[in-house]
């Protein structure tokens, strides 16, 4: 097997790479360039566009001065956003700037589109309330008090954080939806990539196609895939949020399939599970997948961070 072939198509061909090239080559792009609009690049048009931009900036600055009253002399880093009517999606609305401490509140007739510095976007649904807590090179932090937002972030892990009353969603890259109901309870649904949902030192790992519920008074629940059975979901709610848990852990373990090893892996870190209970969880994991040779059962049950990560990598093939 030659890495050189994978790198630059020199060296001895790797049969598997060659085979994939042939099979996947069917989807290769070979389209011509699109027609270039005839107006593009014309000096007159460009001047007009530049003038419009300058006028727009002037109007925006004036508008903000009125809107916000006295502002600090030193410009603060801010995010551009726009309130968009739900009914017609008209995106010609005035562009605004959100700075640290500002809130956005949408009613039933509007949503908001935000640009998250240079790392992504947030779409805020109607009837939502959101605050920019801070924005900077080391962290961008929002607080979703109520409603629903969808975030697309393509940035180093942990650079983008959204607080909710029930826990903080810490972005590890990609696309997710976060909801907070009137009672402050949360729901995190990850579409692409992965997110950590955290509170009080407990971190729930939520990868693509998984979700995690949270309660304001109890914190995060245990993540599960969208494909999880109703029985598993019900048992998890009893385990995570129920007053009388009864046989909830047994029911969870019983309901898990190989794909639900995501749930089992997260349970290994569950704050309410003692070592014996974690042992039962690990038994179930091992029924699906033997522990890799380099990992020991004791290290898993002791919640050794490196060991848990290695186990997650091994189980990730099923997710």
């Amino acid at each position: 097997m030659s890495d050189e072939y994978l790198w630059d198509k020199t060296g001895a061909p790797d049969p598997e790479v060659e085979h994939l090239e042939r099979v996947l080559g069917e989807a290769r792009f070979d389209g011509p360039p699109p027609e270039m609009p005839v107006t593009s690049g014309r000096p007159g048009l460009r001047f007009a566009v530049a003038a419009a931009v300058l006028i727009g900036i002037g109007a925006l600055t004036f508008g903000l001065a009125i809107d916000r009253g006295a502002r600090p002399e030193t410009p603060q880093p801010g995010w551009a956003y726009m309130l968009v009517p739900v009914e017609n999606g008209d995106r010609t609305a005035e562009a605004r700037t959100l700075v640290a401490g500002d809130w956005i509140e949408t009613d039933a007739t509007t949503r908001a589109d935000l640009t998250v510095a240079d790392i992504g976007r947030v779409d805020l649904d109607p009837d939502s309330r959101l605050q920019l807590v801070r924005t900077g090179d080391d962290e961008h932090r929002l607080r979703l008090e109520r409603g629903r937002m969808q975030a697309l972030v393509d940035a180093p892990p942990r650079l983008f954080v959204t607080e909710t009353p029930a826990g903080d969603a810490v972005d590890l890259g990609c696309l997710y939806t976060l909801e907070v109901d009137e009672a402050g309870n949360g729901l995190l649904v990850v579409e692409v990539g992965m997110v950590m949902y955290e509170r009080g030192g407990y971190e729930a790992f939520v990868p693509a196609k998984a979700r995690c519920e949270a309660r304001k008074d109890k914190g995060m629940g245990t993540p599960y895939f969208e494909t999880a059975s109703g029985a598993l979901r019900a048992a998890l709610r009893r385990l995570d949020f129920g007053d009388a848990q009864g046989n909830a852990l047994s029911d969870v373990i019983e309901a898990c399939t190989v794909r639900d090893t995501l749930t089992l892996w997260n349970l290994l870190q569950h704050p309410a599970l003692d070592q014996a209970a974690r042992g039962r969880v690990l038994d179930r994991i091992e029924a699906f997948k033997e522990l890799p040779d380099e990992l020991t059962r004791d290290a898993v049950l002791d919640r050794d961070a490196e060991t848990l990560l290695s186990l997650r990598d091994a189980l990730g093939l099923y997710w």
């Binding site: 630059d8 989807a27 393509d154 180093p156 950590m196 971190e203």
Partner: protein, 197 residues
């Protein structure tokens, strides 16, 4: 240290920064000059940029949307880039800039459709073992972290070499090599896992 804190580098390698491009390698087209020419209305220069970057853009889209839609979206991305070209401050950074437009376009597409085909339907109408295998391979690549996903799409679908990917994305050859190597290892594991199930 938390489990996640140790895992950050492992799971979401950053691919979207717009770094200063490396000095022109021998034989590399002058992208900044092509951008300047397009801004003055030069159609040939637009064709040159399209020829250089269309496969990269297509691969980025293909990593996120069904193949039957990736072709049209590729053209949309170039038209968007053309409209916004005068906003590009560092003309030599056209590659990472248009790559980010492609990612945003895929997101828009995804947001509208509200669902993502886990198993792409693009080849559903075609029969044969190859079509099935292609579907499985595309799905397996799409399940990888973004940096591996995009790099492998460029290499295996678009037929770009590692040095070419590095040049178009303004990434270091070392980073691309690592992404290819690790991505391919994960892909082999994933495909092997499917076979043994």
């Amino acid at each position: 240290m938390s489990v996640d804190a140790r895992s950050t580098a492992r799971h979401c390698p950053r691919v979207t920064t717009v770094p200063d491009p490396a000095p022109l390698a021998r034989g590399e087209p002058d992208v900044a000059a092509a951008v300047a020419a397009v801004l003055s209305g030069d159609r040939e220069a637009f064709g040159l940029l399209h020829g250089l970057f269309a496969r990269m853009v297509h691969a980025i889209l293909l990593a996120r949307v069904p193949a039957r839609e990736a072709d049209d979206l590729t053209q949309d991305v170039f038209l968007t880039a053309l409209r916004k070209l005068d906003q590009l401050k560092n003309r030599a950074a056209f590659g990472p800039w248009v790559a980010q437009i492609a990612r945003n376009r895929a997101y828009d597409h995804h947001r509208r459709s509200r669902r993502f085909d886990t198993l792409p339907a693009e080849l559903a109408g075609r029969g044969g073992a190859d079509a099935l295998e292609a579907r499985e391979a595309l799905a397996a690549i799409r399940a990888l972290p973004a940096a591996y996903r995009e790099t492998l799409m460029m290499r295996l679908v678009e037929g770009m070499t590692g040095p070419e990917i590095a040049a178009r994305m303004s990434m270091t050859p070392g980073s691309v090599r690592v992404n290819l190597h690790r991505g391919m290892r994960l892909l082999r594991d994933a495909l092997g896992q499917k076979e043994t199930r």
